[in-house]
Each structure stands twice: as structure tokens, then as C-alpha cells.
């Protein structure tokens, strides 16, 4: 088995043992060597002592999806040893800690034993160090086995421990210990190996949550209220970290307020209060938090308070799989709250888009005076992705929407909080404290007339509800368009996807094209759907809708909200909580095309990853 710059390494560890940092070092070094890397952290919902995996696909720069299959397994966890062994592809490599004897029931793989624990026991006295450096030792061995540029690795260590200089040398020593062992005991490099790649120099490696947080900073969010929940916690934490650094006034005081609320109801309440009062405000949450925010989302929709909600989706229903990925909050978010409500959703496809769409979300929210929900997920949010650099156009003017200041109130026509003055169904608002005698109004979730006054006149209320429907039609024109990638102008087959599945679907389309199936692809980026969505559907006979949920939630939305005939839309569903692989997507679509082409059968296609 020869594999140059194209393989998967997987680390099987126990969580809380310090492996995360070493594994990231490995991925980062390869990234710096100009390669494509796709790291996936597969971690348990606990703090210490349970199995955890870190998978790194090494590939050409343009690929960003998980591949599946393992070429090199670094099996450090005795608990999962058997299972880890079984995952290695034929001809692949097992690296294990040979300090204790292990059985090897497979003879179709190559086994490389390194007495890691023994080496560390010899080298270190402190038990914590003995544990921690084990991880560094296997990375060191890999640098030799895979022919990594050791200078790059060393520099990565230095950067990692910037400010903690004392840690640099011991880490490099440990790396060398592993490297030397490998050089001495194995034929290095292996046929599975790397050579420096030519990826664009400006690429970055970043998690979606970090990028989302930066989007909030650049959008000028000043109030964030949140409640800890995996996998959204790091959005708020990163925002606080960045904002505290970049938002100091002359006196060292902060131009930002971040509050860890007592729960999600309070978090969204604070955000609504702040947004009503003219600050750009957001909260970030996941699964259960979304359910708890329903009542307030309805209030904000109806009272037209603009704010941003980041939903980093995880495996549902209920507490579900908190450390696994899904896209299963679509229905809930689109229609959150009782009564007739609809919300604007954005679906970023990678961290760069997390940054961009999050920043856009604030403009949209204030322009439309409504909550905007950014639909990220665990895979996108918590894994490191390689993408182009984040960019900000300094000439960009933040769109603060229709807010009347004192002068406008003084000189303008009579203020009607909920009047449709401009024909776009978006009303004007005023902020508390603006004018001594003009522009005050009462914000409420109860039925109201155009002056925001309470009314029980069903007609008046219905007219207001109709305006909200028209406002949603305005939203349709303002939200980011779906991205369409045509493989063929005449093709009748299409695929629709959104969010983090982008990487896998794109690669799957390439694979399918190789097999002779040319599919045009449309990646949704927002709800409500722009006109391009129905148009795309109209131009195709059969469209696969790839989603990571059980019930085909986006497909349902496409049918009812974009008016696409159900029989055109074939669900390709995965809900085992793992990031999709191109191969799985290709397989499902190919099988469907090849099998009975009757529409009825196709509609039932509801499958999940192997």
C-alpha cells in the first residue's frame, strides 16, 4: 500500500489524558507543510477516562471532507483496542504501545510496536508528565514514519507554547525520543507518507465556533448572554476572549458585556432586552437550549426585535448525543414558538462562512427587525477546518436598519412603530431615551396596531400578521443566495445540501461525475429560500436532498416553502452523528440512481451511514 499525501491517520486515546494537544500539533504540522488536512475530534460526553478519537485525513488542498477508513491507527486506548484494530484498512498500519504485550488477530496489516509507556517511565519521574508525553512520543514517531518536516513540527511546538518557553524543550525532547525510536527500529519513511504540498499560503486552520465568534466581534456585537452547553460553549467563550482583548477603551474598560446567564431563557431574554435597547446582541446555544428559547423567539418575531442566535446543532432528540453532529433542528428553528411564526435561518458551509454569515446575520436582523438564527453544527463548530483567510472589507458599513433618531422624529412624519411606510413591510423603530416627547412606544407580545397599541380587533391584528408575511418575503430577497455548481447544463439530476455537509457532497459529486453521473449541486445558505431555489428545482427531474437528520427536515421545508413537488426530492439521510464521508454520499446517490427509478421507491429512500 503506497499512499503519498493521501491517507487517514487515527488516534485512539482516553480523554483527559492530554492527547488533544499532541494530536492537534500533528495536524497543524501537516497543514503547515502545505497539505490538506481534515481533522475530526470524536469525543465522549464526559471529562476524563472514556474513549476518544482524533482522525486526520491528509489530502490535497481542496478536499475538506472526512474520508472514512483508517490507514494508520495509533491505538493508545486498551479499552477500544479491538474495535480500533478492526477499522484499519487492509495493508494499513497499526502503531501501538508495546510496553505491554497485545494480541494481533489480523495478519493483513503492518504492526509497529513502540514501548511508549516504558520510554516515558524511564524518561520522566512525574506521573503527569509520564502520561502527557506519551502523546508527544507517538507524534515524534510519526514525524519519522510519515517523513514529516521536523523543522515544521518543531516550530509548531514553539508557537504552541509561546509564552510558556519552559515547555518548549521538553516537548521537543519527547518528539525526538519518538522520532529516534522510529528511525532506529523501523524502515522510515513508510510507503504511507507525505511530501510538502503546494497549498495556497494564505489558508488558515480554524474551528467554526472561533470564526463565528469573530463574526460577532466584527459585526460589532456588544452584548452576549449565554449558558454553557456543548457544542456551542466555545462560541461565547471565544467571543469573550477576543472582545476582551480588542475592545478596550482608553481606561482599560471594555466595550463589551458578556454574561453567563442562569439558563437559556435568561440568556435569550437578556439578548432581546439589549437588542431592543439598540445594542447588537447575540446568544449561542444547542439542542435543549433551542427548545427552551421558543417562547422568547416568538416574542421577538412578533414584537420585531432584532438579534442573532447561534445554534450549534448536536445529536437530538432531547439530550441525545451531545458530542455528535446533526442537522436536526431545522423544523424547530424555522417555526420556533407557538402560533404562526417563521424565522430567518442562515447555513454556513465552513468556518470562513461562519465568520461571514454571522456578520451578515447582524445586518439582516437589524434590517429585517427579526431574530436571525445561524445554523451551525458540532462538526463545523468544534472541528478544525482548513479554509481561506477571513476577510473584512473596511469600507463595509454595518446596516443598522431603520432606526429613527431624535432629528428624524422631530422632522419626520408621525411615528408608527408597526406601519409599512416603505412598502417592504419593515417598520421603523426608535430606541429608548431618544427624544423627550416623540417616538416612545410599547413593545409587547400581545396583539397590537400599527402604533404598537394593544388591540383586540382581530382584523387589525390579522393585518399586522399579513405584514409580517410580507416582511418574510422581503427577507427572501435579502438573505444570501444558494450557491449553485453546475456539472452539466442539460443534466436532469441534482443534489441539494447545506451547512457542514458541503465538503462531503462536493467531493461526492466529483466521484459521481467520474462514474458518469453528472449532478448539478445547490448549496442552500438561507431560509426563506430565494427564487433561485425553486428555479433550480424546476430545471431538474430528480434531486437528492442530503441532510443529517432522520426526518428529512429540509426536504419538508423545500416542499412546503419553496413549492417543490415532493416526488422530485429524494432524501439522503444520515443521523449517526458522524461527519459525512464523500464515499457514503456517493454510494447512496449512485445506488438510488441505479436502482428502480420509480419515484415512489425513491421517495422512501431514507438511509444512514454504515
Amino acid at each position: 500500500m503506497k499512499r503519498l499525501n493521501d491517507f487517514v491517520v487515527k488516534f485512539a486515546n482516553v480523554n483527559g489524558s492530554g492527547s488533544a494537544s499532541a494530536n492537534l500539533l500533528f495536524a497543524k504540522s501537516l497543514f503547515r507543510m502545505g497539505l490538506g488536512v481534515v481533522p475530526k475530534n470524536i469525543f465522549p460526553s464526559n471529562i476524563q477516562g472514556l474513549p476518544t478519537w482524533y482522525e486526520v485525513r491528509v489530502t490535497q488542498a481542496a478536499r475538506r471532507a472526512r474520508r472514512g477508513g483508517v490507514d494508520v491507527m495509533v491505538a493508545m486506548n486498551p479499552q477500544t483496542y479491538a474495535q480500533d484494530l478492526a477499522e484499519i484498512v487492509e495493508g494499513g498500519y497499526l502503531i501501538y504501545d508495546s510496553s505491554l504485550p497485545r494480541p494481533f488477530p489480523r495478519d493483513d496489516i503492518n504492526v509497529l510496536g513502540i514501548p511508549i509507556a516504558r520510554m516515558c517511565a524511564d524518561a520522566y519521574l512525574n506521573p503527569r508528565e509520564r502520561q502527557l508525553f506519551k502523546n508527544v512520543v507517538y507524534v515524534g514517531a510519526l514525524t519519522a514514519l510519515l517523513d514529516m518536516d521536523f523543522k515544521v513540527v518543531r516550530q509548531a511546538v514553539r508557537d504552541r507554547f509561546k509564552g510558556k518557553a519552559k515547555l518548549v524543550d521538553p516537548n521537543i525532547e519527547a518528539l525526538k525520543m519518538g522520532r529516534d525510536y522510529a528511525l532506529k527500529n523501523f524502515k522510515c519513511p513508510l510507503p504511507v507518507r507525505v511530501k510538502p504540498g503546494k497549498a495556497p499560503k494564505d489558508r488558515i486552520m480554524i474551528t467554526g465556533n472561533e470564526a463565528t465568534a469573530l463574526g460577532c466581534v466584527y459585526a460589532g456585537a456588544t452584548v452576549a448572554a449565554w449558558y454553557p452547553i456543548t457544542p456551542s460553549t466555545s462560541v461565547a467563550e471565544a467571543f469573550e476572549r477576543h472582545a476582551k482583548k480588542m475592545r478596550l477603551d482608553g481606561d482599560g474598560a471594555r466595550r463589551v458585556a458578556v454574561v453567563q446567564a442562569e439558563d437559556e431563557l435568561a440568556a435569550i431574554g437578556m439578548v432581546i432586552g439589549a437588542a431592543w435597547n439598540g445594542a447588537r446582541a447575540f446568544t449561542a446555544t444547542s439542542g435543549p437550549g433551542i427548545s427552551l428559547m421558543g417562547e422568547f423567539l416568538g416574542l421577538a418575531y412578533f414584537a420585531e426585535v432584532p438579534f442573532v442566535l447561534i445554534n450549534v446543532q448536536r445529536g437530538g432528540p432531547s439530550t441525545g448525543m451531545p458530542t455528535r453532529t446533526q442537522q436536526s433542528d431545522i423544523t424547530t428553528c424555522a417555526y420556533a414558538s407557538h402560533g404562526d411564526t417563521k424565522h430567518v435561518l442562515l447555513f454556513p458551509g465552513d468556518p470562513k462562512e461562519c465568520f461571514e454569515l454571522t456578520a451578515d446575520a447582524f445586518d439582516l436582523a437589524e434590517r429585517l427587525q427579526t431574530p436571525v438564527i445561524v445554523m451551525s453544527d458540532l462538526d463545523l463548530g468544534m472541528n478544525e477546518w482548513v479554509c481561506g483567510p477571513l476577510e473584512w472589507d473596511d469600507a463595509r458599513v454595518h446596516d443598522r436598519g431603520k432606526v429613527l433618531d431624535a432629528e428624524a422624529l422631530e422632522t419626520g412624519p408621525e411615528f408608527q412603530r408597526y406601519g409599512d411606510v416603505d412598502g417592504d413591510a419593515i417598520p421603523y423603530r426608535t430606541l429608548p431615551g431618544t427624544h423627550p416627547s416623540k417616538g416612545a412606544f410599547f413593545t409587547r407580545g400581545s396583539s397590537h396596531d400599527t402604533y404598537a397599541a394593544y388591540t383586540e380587533d382581530g382584523q387589525v391584528n390579522a393585518e399586522n400578521l399579513d405584514r409580517l408575511t410580507r416582511k418574510f418575503a422581503t427577507a427572501e430577497k435579502l438573505v444570501p443566495k444558494a450557491v449553485i455548481r453546475r456539472s452539466s447544463q442539460t443534466g436532469k439530476l441534482g443534489v441539494i445540501n447545506f451547512g457542514s455537509t458541503q465538503a462531503a457532497v462536493r467531493e461526492a459529486c466529483d466521484l459521481l461525475a467520474r462514474d458518469g453521473y453528472k449532478l448539478n449541486a445547490m448549496r442552500l445558505r438561507a431560509f426563506p429560500f430565494g427564487r433561485e431555489v425553486a428555479k433550480f428545482a424546476a430545471g431538474h427531474d430528480r434531486i437528492f436532498v442530503v441532510e443529517q437528520n432522520r426526518d428529512g427536515q429540509m426536504r419538508a421545508l423545500l416542499i412546503t416553502e419553496a413549492g417543490i413537488p415532493a416526488e422530485k426530492l429524494v432524501s439522503v439521510l444520515n443521523y449517526d452523528g458522524m461527519p459525512l464521508t464523500p464515499d457514503w454520499v456517493r454510494g447512496k446517490i449512485a445506488a438510488s440512481i441505479e436502482s428502480d427509478k420509480s419515484v415512489a421507491a425513491a421517495m422512501q429512500l431514507s438511509v444512514r451511514a454504515m
Partner: protein
């Protein structure tokens, strides 16, 4: 209050305050509460207090939850923005609003159902965070708007209008407030406007969380003989702990306080509050004493009113968060958005 339209004529003789405004300018829409409802008296006291304090009403935001009590912000301060939010969640709305603009005055109005039942958690946490606001509970021991169910502040001995027994002990909101960190805790009675107006004014002068538990009879569902929140009961059992005097910053204190009987507190805005104690066994600056007094008097069936506790720590939520002095909603985008050069640095750190 409901049937008559307010006449639009202004009495030319109506007294004007320093802003040139009359009491009328501090009013709101016509109340739609029941005639005689205690809540209307509280609205009147708020109007009175704001008028007397020369308050520019547009610098105040009125916030509430849901309930008859939570409707009242419509009935005072027409020039203030109002937010009638959802049931029990006004504290979080107030917290967020305050974060966005530290320069306005936040007046939250809630009911006992809104605060002590569905809103208990948010209420406690807003106090703990020292949100700079005035929080009034219009406490009638019942759910007025949903027609007379017991609330969590109904005393165990109280009975419903139909004679049903209340099974549970009341939650004493003042006690809770002192425990959870409210810096200003007072109880008033809507039937005692004279006592109420100074309490409200003092709350306005306080920086931090000022809590006012105002017993406010519900004439429709909880003003009968077996109720402990009726006008008659509260009048009969009201024990005023003190009387307040507020001396604005600019005035000098002339009279010397009577030793042991008068407590003078300098408010954060520089004004002085003089508290004439009617009971000298307790000290409102000592939480221990306030709590003990509350418990002892309650066990005797008394309804203690007055300023019960005041803490002169100056730190509100903004102090704790070290936010900039400028209201966050007024910081220009140029000071908020770090720009592309900074982003380039961040990109670099991610390579």
C-alpha cells in the same frame, strides 16, 4: 377608572416641576384595571414620584412581564419606552436592556405570580448580578389576570374568595431579596400613598438593585375578609418601620438627626436619605437585623413596611463587568469592529 375619558383641558394652575412639566405629563393611558385595584394606586405613586423628582421620562424604560400588574406601565409615563415582555421573564429583559445602555433608568414592574412563581429564578439571578434597576412587585397574593388562583406569596392562613384553604407557606420576597443580594429592599402598601412615594423616590436614587415589594390588594379576587392581602387586613396589620426624607444633593442638611432614631445614608448620586426609624431594634444597614425583624414580625401576623435594608456598596453589574462608561449602544462601530488589519493578524495566528 375605566369609564370616563380623561378631559383634555389642562388646569392652568397645575403645578409645574423644574422641567416645566405637570403631573399630567407623567401619566399614561387610561387604566383598564378594575376600579379600586391596588395597582392603580401604585401607578399614581410612580407618577407622583417622577413628577416630584423632575425626571425626564424618556430617560426611563418601563419593563414588565404578564399580569394585571404587568399591564400598569401602560398607565404611567407615556413618554417612556415600555416593554411588556413574557410571563416571569422581565428580569432578563431588564438585565439585557441595562447592559446595552447604562445611562437610562430601568423600572421593572411585576406581579407576585410573575415574580414568585414562573419568574423566581430570573428574579433571584438579577438581584445576584446587581442589575442597576428598580424592581417593583405589585403583590396581591393572587393571580389577578387569570382570575384568582393562589400565588406563592399567599399566606398559608389566607383563604380564597370561595373559601378554599391555601396549602403552602408564602415566599417572602423581601427576605429573599436581602439574601440574594438586592442592595435596597423595601416594602410598601398601595393603600398608603404617603409612605409609598418617598420609598419609590429613594429607590430611584439608589444605584444597584432596588427592590420594592408593594402589597396591592386585588379588589376582585383577594379583598375579602379571609384574605391577608385585603385593604382591611393590611391596614390593620401594617407596621411602618420608618419614614423617609430625601434631601437632594444641592440642599444642605440643617437639622441634626436625633441620635439612634435617624439614619442618614448618602446615595450614590450624592443626595442624602434620612430615615426616621419608628422601631429602634433594627438597623436597615444590617442585613441580619433586617432579616430577623422580618421573620419576627411576620410570625406575629404583622405586615412590616418601610425601607428594610440598604447596602451602600457601589458596584452594579457594569462595575463588575468593567464595561466602558459610554453606553454600549452608543459606541461607534469604528470602536467596535477591529478592521481588516487586525483580522490579518488573527489569520496569521491561525496558520
Amino acid at each position: 377608572m375605566t369609564f370616563m375619558k380623561k378631559p383634555n383641558v389642562r388646569h392652568p394652575g397645575l403645578r409645574k416641576n423644574e422641567l416645566g412639566l405637570t403631573r399630567r405629563d407623567y401619566e399614561g393611558l387610561l387604566s383598564t384595571l378594575c376600579a379600586g385595584c391596588g395597582h392603580d394606586s401604585i401607578s399614581a405613586a410612580i407618577i407622583e414620584a417622577c413628577f416630584e423628582m423632575d425626571l425626564p421620562a424618556h430617560r426611563l424604560a418601563k419593563l414588565s412581564g404578564i399580569g394585571c400588574s404587568s399591564k400598569t406601565p401602560t398607565y404611567f409615563l407615556n413618554q417612556s419606552h415600555g416593554f411588556n415582555s413574557v410571563h416571569g421573564r422581565m428580569p432578563s429583559i431588564a438585565t439585557g436592556a441595562n447592559l446595552a445602555n447604562r445611562d437610562l433608568i430601568y423600572l421593572g414592574v411585576s406581579g407576585d405570580g410573575d415574580t414568585a412563581s414562573i419568574g423566581l429564578g430570573q428574579f433571584c439571578h438579577a438581584m445576584r448580578r446587581r442589575v442597576n434597576m428598580i424592581y417593583i412587585v405589585e403583590n396581591n397574593g393572587t393571580y389577578g389576570l387569570t382570575k384568582g388562583q393562589f400565588s406563592a406569596t399567599s399566606d398559608r392562613v389566607s383563604k380564597s374568595k370561595k373559601g378554599e384553604a391555601n396549602l403552602f407557606e408564602a415566599i417572602d420576597l423581601c427576605t429573599l431579596a436581602i439574601h440574594l443580594g438586592a442592595g435596597f429592599v423595601a416594602r410598601g402598601f398601595s393603600g398608603d400613598k404617603e409612605g409609598l412615594v418617598p420609598l419609590i423616590k429613594a429607590a430611584f436614587h439608589y444605584k444597584g438593585f432596588a427592590f420594592l415589594d408593594i402589597v396591592s390588594p386585588c379588589v376582585t379576587f383577594n379583598d375579602h375578609a379571609a384574605s391577608t392581602k385585603s385593604y382591611d387586613y393590611v391596614r390593620a396589620h401594617n407596621e411602618a418601620m420608618d419614614r423617609l426624607d430625601l434631601v437632594p444633593e444641592r440642599e444642605e442638611i440643617i437639622a441634626q438627626a436625633e441620635e439612634g432614631k435617624t439614619v442618614t445614608v448618602r446615595m450614590h448620586d450624592g443626595s442624602l436619605m434620612r430615615l426616621h426609624k419608628l422601631d429602634d431594634t433594627y438597623d436597615p444597614r444590617d442585613s441580619e437585623s433586617a432579616l430577623t425583624t422580618l421573620r419576627k414580625r411576620y410570625s406575629k401576623g404583622q405586615v412590616v413596611t418601610g425601607l428594610l435594608y440598604i447596602d451602600d456598596e457601589d458596584a452594579d453589574l457594569h462595575t463588575l463587568l468593567n464595561t466602558t462608561a459610554q453606553p454600549l449602544n452608543a459606541v461607534p462601530m469604528s470602536d467596535l469592529c477591529p478592521g481588516n488589519a487586525q483580522l490579518a493578524k488573527i489569520n496569521k495566528s491561525l496558520r
